[in-house]
């Protein structure tokens, strides 16, 4: 089973995407192509048990990681006062 996903770089942290990939090694093979505005992800060899929600779950995971990292960087910039 295969799936494709495009994440806009202005909305999702590219580093967060890269850092999360190892966590999904057991359930799918994920390849990332970094275009100018998008990260294009290809999911292959998806574990059938998680196939229906894998991409949706991955999106949530990246979003949470993006928001967390953004808040941390803003807190650092404002001296922890945020």
């Amino acid at each position: 089973m295969e799936a494709e996903l495009a994440l806009h770089r202005s909305l999702y942290d590219a580093e967060a995407v890269r850092d999360l990939l190892p966590q999904y090694q057991g359930v799918a093979t994920i390849r990332v192509d970094e275009a100018e505005h998008e990260l294009r992800l290809s999911f292959t060899e998806i574990d059938p048990d998680v196939a229906p929600m894998l991409v949706d779950h991955f999106c949530n995971h990246v979003l949470v990681e993006t928001v967390t990292r953004r808040n941390q960087s803003l807190a650092t910039l404002s001296g922890g006062a945020r």
Binding site: A6, H8, S10, L11, Y12, H37, M53, D56, H57, C59, N60, L63, V64, T66, V67, R70, S78, G79, G80, A81, R82
Partner: protein, 153 residues
């Protein structure tokens, strides 16, 4: 959005347009009205109940797509869109208050970190309190009513 189900469109307010297809609902937001911090803040609060996906729909336009993790109906999706719109408003307010009070927060942080030890010591604070208590009370507000002769009954 899926092509198999009929889509329903609407507008919660002029600035927020939504479309739902029976399994998910998508809201298109203008970043000049809803800053990214507010969009992230609102979206974050829905990840426990929904699968959330953000996409760029144009310059300064962001689409937030919510797909409930459980059962979904047209009414539930429209309610979800309304909830997200309310939360966006909360988050915009939070961002604005954060921006408008940033200077004063930074000032207090700087004071806390860079004041000298004698200024912030407990002894210093106690001495200030003692001085305030011993200061002359010109209006005699601190005179107990029993001895003040105010005739309070």
């Amino acid at each position: 959005m899926s092509d198999s189900s009929p889509e329903t469109e609407g507008a919660l307010v002029d600035e927020i347009r939504w479309v739902e297809d029976g399994t998910r609902v998508a809201l298109t937001l203008d970043e000049s009205i809803y800053p990214m911090d507010a969009i992230y803040g609102a979206a974050y609060l829905f990840v426990d109940r929904c699968y959330v996906f953000l996409s760029r729909e144009g310059d300064r336009m962001v689409e937030v797509r919510l797909k409930p993790k459980g059962e979904s109906s047209s009414a539930a999706l429209q309610a979800l869109a309304g909830e997200l719109a309310n939360e966006l408003l909360n988050q915009v307010l939070r961002v604005r208050i954060g921006d408008s009070t940033r200077k004063i927060r930074e000032y207090y942080m700087a004071r806390a970190f860079f004041s000298t030890s004698t200024q912030s010591s407990i002894d210093q604070l106690l001495a200030e309190l003692d001085q305030e208590e011993l200061a002359e009370d010109e209006l005699e507000i601190q005179v107990p009513w029993e001895t003040g002769g105010a005739g309070g009954g």
